[in-house]
Symmetry: C2
């Protein structure tokens, strides 16, 4: 392991942002890069909205609305009310200060600036110095097939509140999307890669849908650890459990092991799921059973610190 | 004169919006169309801002900030503060509810919808049923030459607060701009055309810079009356007096008569300038000297009603 070990976190959604914050609050802050999910991105009112990347940035900056887990603390909704008066859809909540981010991002994109550079610029201007990397600078968008037809991720997640049964998930544009050199370099150059307790399909799966990312994970010499987003067969937040069920999979640590099998070295599961540890170990995985619920900042820091210590002790053991 | 006489107002800036409101509050409301000025339009933060048209719409809807004469009553500035945090210029004040208008307009323009149709749509959604017509659907932008170099109108007017001496005014794009059929039809089909007490150079001059508009005014059978924006050699608001002086002209009713000489039938001047009436009449103009300061809504209504009555009595006289 390097003298100054590098850690890369793959993070999507609120679970991903919590894990990123946990690492940012730990002794490993300066070692960290985060690869976020851009497949939830969508245009609203002609503006390019990037919910997962913004949630990461706002969480790491401390500006996040903690009750919601997304959006800005104390934000108002004058712009959205105005757009409603003008006859626009308003089911996608966008706060006024948040609109500034979307306006700025859209203007920068129209100037031809790389989305990766824009995300980094917005992070810096929010006093976030942790690298927030995009998997691709191309447009990749999750499409959810349901009995109601094909929906964008925000239509499914926000407008329909995850009610429709999901029969298929597609990442539109992923095949022709090129991975960013920054994401590939972070994956290849890390000692430890952590997969956050995010939705394995529409967060982590979306990141890995970009051509080259999954292959880079498999080829990386890094120790690769995932934190299961399931506690007792349920997610803390979000529709991962119902989505998996719709696609004929169990919302369990074993499914996480299946989905990440080509690159996974270790799996962190909740204490409630400790019974699954033996089977997972039999599959050759290192297993840590601990409290994975991250409510307070201290719980976030503690979980991520515990995960990193566990990983580093196994890396040291393997190289001894 | 027709049984149902039609009135078209050429209006720019706060003076134009006041005259429009005066007519809207009068018995002539249903007879009215307003041609606004689009040469103050400018892109800010990637959004298309149309200050004069918005001032007209907001004034006629009653949503205007009356203290300022522009912007929306009670509007907040969360978006602009956010953009400032992101390193953007914030000298052009844009309120949050106002941003909704700019976001909507920009999205509609990008969809390829005619700017005239967008302006009308925004007016309707603000409960304004008076036709607000654009002189052109093309982009025409005022450029102000000063010792500091060439400035856009908003740079000159808002950022530099009209301080630089003006040596020339250009309407970029005017030569190749096509007048809208709506504006040409309104001018050709009116019984009375009123030129609001707006800046004769950058408001009315800008409207008339569009190829075909000035010719249509000269060719129209309508009785054409201008209200001088000067009272005792000064403007009520705005830089018209200083701009004229910079270009070697006097800020006087006589100058208004000169600038509009190819189509003007009547000039309304303030009582304070009544001494100029004889000279103006000698030039063949009908002259009404009255109180032209429009502070209250009642004063606006009264002035515009007085102007229309004066015009209609002269039209009736001529056809008798």
């Amino acid at each position: 392991m390097a003298d100054f070990p590098k850690i890369t976190l793959l993070a999507g959604g609120v679970g991903g942002a919590k894990a990123a914050l946990g690492l940012a609050l730990s002794q490993w802050r300066d070692h960290l890069s985060v690869i976020g999910n851009i497949a939830d991105d969508e245009e609203f009112h002609g503006l390019w909205v990037s919910p997962d990347i913004d949630t990461l940035t706002y969480t790491l900056s401390g500006r996040i609305n903690r009750q919601q887990g997304w959006g800005l603390n104390g934000d108002t909704s004058q712009v959205l009310n105005g757009l409603k008066t003008l006859g626009c859809d308003s089911w996608m909540f966008l706060g006024d200060q948040d609109f500034a981010t979307h306006i700025y991002r859209t203007e920068q994109r129209r100037k031809g600036i790389r989305p990766s550079a824009i995300a980094q610029d917005i992070a810096w201007k929010n006093q976030v110095d942790i690298p927030i990397l995009l998997p691709t600078d191309d447009v990749v968008q999750t499409r959810v097939s349901t009995a109601q037809g094909t929906l964008s991720f925000q239509e499914y997640f926000v407008r329909e509140q995850c009610r429709p049964d999901v029969t298929a998930i597609e990442f539109h544009g992923a095949e022709s999307a090129a991975a960013t050199p920054e994401a590939l370099a972070a994956i290849a150059g890390s000692d430890l890669i952590i997969i956050a307790p995010s939705n394995p399909l529409v967060s982590i799966g979306a990141i890995m849908s970009v051509t080259g990312i999954r292959e880079a994970l498999a080829a990386s010499p890094a120790y690769c650890m995932a934190i299961s987003p399931f506690i007792g067969g349920k997610t803390v937040k979000g529709p991962a459990d119902r989505m998996l069920a719709g696609l004929g999979m169990q919302p369990s640590a074993a499914t996480i092991a299946d989905l990440y099998q080509d690159f996974l070295d270790a799996l962190v599961i909740d204490q409630q799921d400790a019974h699954a540890a033996a089977d997972l170990r039999q599959r050759g995985l290192d297993v840590l059973a601990t409290n994975t619920l991250m409510t307070s900042d201290e719980e976030k820091r503690h979980l991520m610190d515990t995960c990193v210590s566990f990983a580093f002790s196994h890396i040291a053991e393997a190289s001894a």
